[in-house]
């Protein structure tokens, strides 16, 4: 591999790791929101609050 290919690899790996994690975190957030909507007793449980 030459220097330019290492440069491209660096940005592909860096951006892939960062934005891949953000995407997975956003999906987890949506899944948790859905779970809380499906179980409204959780947010209205005074002990859990």
């Amino acid at each position: 591999m030459n220097s330019s290919q290492y440069l491209i690899l660096g940005y592909v790996v860096g951006a892939g790791v960062l934005w891949g994690y953000i995407l997975s975190l956003a999906l987890t957030h949506c899944r948790l929101n859905k779970h809380l909507r499906d179980h409204p007793e959780i947010t209205h449980d005074p002990q859990a609050q």
Partner: protein, 235 residues
Amino acid sequence: MRLKSCRLTAGFWAITLAMFMAGVVMVFAYTPVEKTMGPVQKVFYLHLPVAINTFLACVVVFVASVGYLWKRTQAWDDLALAACKTAVLLCSVVLLTGMIWGRSAWGAWWTWSPRLTFSLLLWLLYVVYLVIRPAIESPQRRALVSAVYGLVAFLDVPLVYLSVKLMPQDIHPASIALEPQMKTTLLFWFLPVTLLNIGLIALGYAVQRKRTLIEQSRGKRSVHDTSTPLAGDAA
């Protein structure tokens, strides 16, 4: 209100993504090639801002750990955990981009130079933070151990920062002479990476708060909500 919050969040991530892409365009189309190292030197524009933001995420872990030890509220522990996950992610990117840069510039993926070793140690310390948490059953004890560990782990941050200055024989460059266009690109890259860091900690915190709420609703109540101390807490 909820719709407005969703739009703000979507707007924040759209701006961050647009700035990130603008930074990539600047790297490939605007910034000149450094003469000694060649094109691979441009990895530096991502590598350095991510490294500085790793330190910032570690500072948030430290502050949140102090906050938990002071106030003993679950929210501080949730913030420390979100920041720790972000620190591990950013440190992973620092190590990976550094290895790719090193392979091209030095001919080796890894060398045991002081800065690289302390950076790997930093990554390991915060990975251990994440690994030990599930092993502790009681949420209060888990938060307490994590907070103390978060303070101790932070001691490596100044070592990483000062390693090049204290050990001048380090192969890792302490500074690189930059042309004006290179400085502009480097300064610009701090914007999307810092926004990304803030967004990751905020989103991670929101996710963790919801997980805590669900966990508490399943019967694992916080010690601050109960009148009966847990076994071992008296000591």
